[in-house]
Each structure stands twice: as C-alpha cells, then as structure tokens.
C-alpha cells in the first residue's frame, strides 16, 4: 500500500472511531445537543419577550453557535479525546502502530468538523424556527466557521497535550478558561455594555473576533471587505493555534515514547 493511501486510510479510521465513540456515549451526546439548544431557546424567549430587542436575535444565534456550541464541542471535545487517549493508555498503543501523527491530527479535525456541521444544522434549525434570520453569504459564513473549528481543534490539542492529564480535569479546565473567554468574547452580552477596560481586554480575545466575524455575516449581512480585519485576525489565530496544537501533540508523543 502506498504511503498516501495508508495516510488516508488511517485518517478515516481515526475520524470514524471518534464519531462511533461519540455516538456510543449517549449521555455525552444528549448534553452535546441539549446545551446549545437550551441556550438558543432561552435567548429566543428573552428576545421574543422584548420587542425592542428583536433585532438582537439574529446576532444571538450566531454568537451561541460560534461562542458556545462550537467552543465546547470542538475545543472541549478535542481536549477530552487527548485526555482519554492518555488515561486509557491507547496513546501509547497508537505509538506502536505505523499511524502517522498527521493522520491522527487530521482524523480528529475531520471528526470535529462533522460534529460541528451537525451543530450548525441543529442550532440554526432551532434559530430559524423561533424567528432568527441568516442575512449574509453562506460561503463566507462557512469559511469563518471552518477557521473557527480549526482554531478550536488546534487549541484543544494544545490544552489537551500540555495540561489535561485526566478526563475529570477537562470539565474544570474548560469552565475555568472557557467561561471568562465566552463572556469577554461577547457571546452572552454585546461588547458595548461592558466597561471600557473590559472592552479593551476583549480585543485580544480571539473568540471576540470569531463572534464578530460570524455575527457580521450572519446577522448583519457584511461582506469580505467590511470584515477584513476580523478575518485577518482569525486566519492568523487559526495558523497560530494549529501550529501550537501540532507542536504540543509532538511534545506529547515524545513524552509518551520515553515513559
């Protein structure tokens, strides 16, 4: 078998296995679906109750998808995958196979992309049902979501490989790091209502730029030109987080080899 064929076969095997495991973990799957759906419904009810805030519903849908659903699904999911591989000793076992590290990395990315796609469909179905609208380019929105997923998976590899040694630590770490980032990223409240100091701090939060880019397209119909700064930031952050993720994953493999 040629190297490229083997690489593809391995990538597919990793992605398939992760999706199958996710499917088998029914309780996890329920929380995976319930969390963003409940958030969407709650925000929908709040906006529907206040006619003056009706315009905010479209932005809320975009914010919940990028800022909450994909964050916990892709970043949290990746950290959990790495922690579980470590804990079960399967990471060590994988090192004894000819699995190419990049095939593993790509397999995780593909699995997370498919899960993200399902979340997009699920969440936007609910959002459209309760009256939200998508205004801009679907293609541009897709590119932003793709960059966001890559960024989250890269960060997931970084955090998982460097910090999360046990599955239990994943929830704590995600809450400790994630929730402040979500708040500062404008996921729950508009940036304008925050004090100036918080607004300044928020500018260095990559989630703010993911949120603003996707909200710009989905809620306000903005185009490439208007979002160039956000997109440039997102591309740079995506590159950085993937590089960090790959580097951390290599570090993890080397560490496991010498154990």
């Amino acid at each position: 078998m040629q190297s490229s064929q083997l690489f593809l076969l391995q990538t597919r095997a990793v992605a398939q296995r992760l999706l199958l495991e996710q499917w088998r973990q029914k309780r996890g799957l329920i929380f995976w679906a319930v969390f963003p759906s409940t958030m969407m419904l709650l925000f929908g009810l709040v906006y529907a109750h206040n006619a003056s805030m009706r315009a905010g519903l479209d932005a809320a849908a975009a914010g919940i998808l990028v800022g909450a659903a994909l964050f916990f699904s892709c970043l949290g999911g990746t950290v959990a995958v790495i922690a579980a591989e470590r804990e079960r000793g399967t990471l060590h076992r994988l090192l004894t196979t000819p699995l190419h590290p990049a095939a593993y990395f790509l397999g995780v990315v593909i699995a997370q992309l498919l899960l993200a796609l399902m979340q997009v469909v699920m969440l936007y179905s609910i959002a459209l049902l309760i009256g939200a609208q998508y205004h801009g380019s679907v293609f541009l929105g897709g590119v932003i979501l793709l960059l966001s997923v890559f960024s989250y998976v890269g960060m997931g590899f970084f955090l998982g490989a460097r910090f999360a040694r046990r599955s239990e630590e994943v929830v704590v770490a995600l809450s400790a790091i994630g929730v402040p980032l979500l708040v500062l990223g404008g996921t729950f409240f508009p940036l304008e209502i925050m004090p100036q100091g918080m607004q300044n701090l928020a500018q260095i939060n990559p989630m703010l730029h993911m949120n603003q880019a996707f909200k710009g397209v989905a809620a306000y119909g903005m185009g490439l030109h208007e979002l160039r700064f956000e997109l440039a930031f997102l591309v740079a952050f995506c590159g950085l987080s993937l590089a960090l993720g790959v580097q951390s994953y290599r570090h993890l493999l080397d560490g496991n080899k010498s154990q």
Binding site: M1, S3, R17, E21, G89, T96, T97, P98
Partner: protein, 304 residues
Amino acid sequence: MTAVLEIQDIHKWFGSHHVLDGFSLRVEQGEVVGLLGPNGCGKSTVLKIVCKLLSLDAGEVLLMGQPLSELSYRARGLVGLCTQHSSLYPDLLPAENLHFFARLYGLSDQDRQHRVEELMNRFELENFANTRVGQLSGGWQQRLHLAVSLIHRPKLLVLDEPTSAVDLEARMDLWRLIEGLRDSGTTILLTSHHLAEAERLCSRVALMRSGKVLAAGSITELLARVPGQAVAKVQSADHEAILQRALDLGWQVRQHADQIRLLLPFTFNLREIVDALDGTQVSAVSVHPVTLEDAYLELVGGSP
C-alpha cells in the same frame, strides 16, 4: 539465516542511571524467548527499544536483518506489542477495535475482514461480539489485546508481562493461547515475573540483572547449570548443623533469606532426605526436581 531480532551490545542511560549495560540477544524465527530479571533490571526498556518507543544510546538493534534506526515508522508493522494493561477503546465492540487497528496497519478491506473473523474465532471472542470492551472482564480484555497485537501478522510478537494483571484462570487461558501461537510458529519475545510462565512457554530464556544478560539458553541448558539433580528446601532453627551435615554428605548448600536449599547430586525421596538430616533440628523439608527458579537463584540470585 537472518534472525528476526538481533540486539547487539546496546546501552541506555536515564540521566546518570545506566539502565542497559551492553545488552545483547538474538531471537530466531519461531522461537519464544523469555527475558527474566528483577524489577528495574531493564527488561521493559529492551522491549520499548525494540518497539521504537525509546531510542538507544549505543549499540545496534537489527529487525529482520535491518538496523532499527534506519527503518521508517511504517516498520512498526513488523512488531506487535501486548502489555500487561489492555489499552483498548472501551466504547467499541471487540471486532471494532480489531478493525480500527487493522486500518492503522493498512490491511485491505478484504484482508481486514478475513483477519478480524479469524482472530475473533481463534481467541473465542464471538460470544462477546456484541459486548462493549469496557464491559468485558480483565481476562477477556487481555485476550482481545493479544488479538489486536496480532492483527497485522507481525514478524515479532512482544509480550510485556502479558498475564501479570489477570487472575489465575485467565492466566491459564492466556498461556494456552500463547502456546497455540508458539506451536503455529509465531516468534515471541516475552518478559515475565512468573518463572512458571517462562518455563512453560519459552524455548529459550535470558536471565538479566543490572541491564545485562547474565545467562541465556534453553530451559534444559539453564537447568543443567544448577550443580544438582534435585533440590531440598529445608527450614531449621539451627542452620549451622544443617550446613555441616550437608558438607559431610558432599551436598552443595545455598541460602536465600531464611531458606536453606540443598543441591542434591541424585534424586532422593523425602524419606531419604529426612534420614540423612536425622539429628538436626529440621522443622520442614521438601524435595523437588531442579526448576527454572533454582536456575534463576543459582545464576542471578534474588527473586525475579
């Protein structure tokens, strides 16, 4: 003929600790070679180097005649590793675990299907075909782990204390399966704490201490290096009297902890031993033919 594995004078340091100190070993096609030695003697380090999980500092390892250092990551397909802890995916079924690892090794769809069925059958896993791996007992998980190690038909199967984490019944089952593999010509390198395991499974044994091989050979060869036909284990409050009597009889004596071992030039029965030690304060005595444990104590000292 090219050896499956040839380890030539390898050295490994962990900081200032010299873990492997000129370790050498040759494993021929179809052999089951056991590495025995006390904790920390370097057994697992050797296996990790062979599995490319650890680099060596000096010396050379040849796998199927090729230097390990020159083989790419794809050469990992030459070796199958089974450790004491079964590292499998608990939410997948047994066959799904096998299929997953088969894909990592690049088995074609048809070959993979055939191989998974063959191993499910050989390791009697069909009855648990619909049970998630996490719900299997430790023994059955280890069985599956062994099957996973063989999925890609490795040239060398490496077993790192494969039965030390399972109960006695499961151990006997695993021994039977490993014997089956041995009889079908699988080349195996195995470490174990159980001398009985090595005696039963191995065609050749290397006794290790402090990172080097102290003695190696077939079980018969190692047993022949014990200067006696049988061993009497004696417990007594008066060691001096026993030692003196043994010397008078021309028997060699070994002392390990509180136990005195008399190396007998012939196979005496228990009555004859008791008669020979008459007049000394013996509280318990037993006699048995020379075993690998005696050879180990003679050649290495201490417990494995």
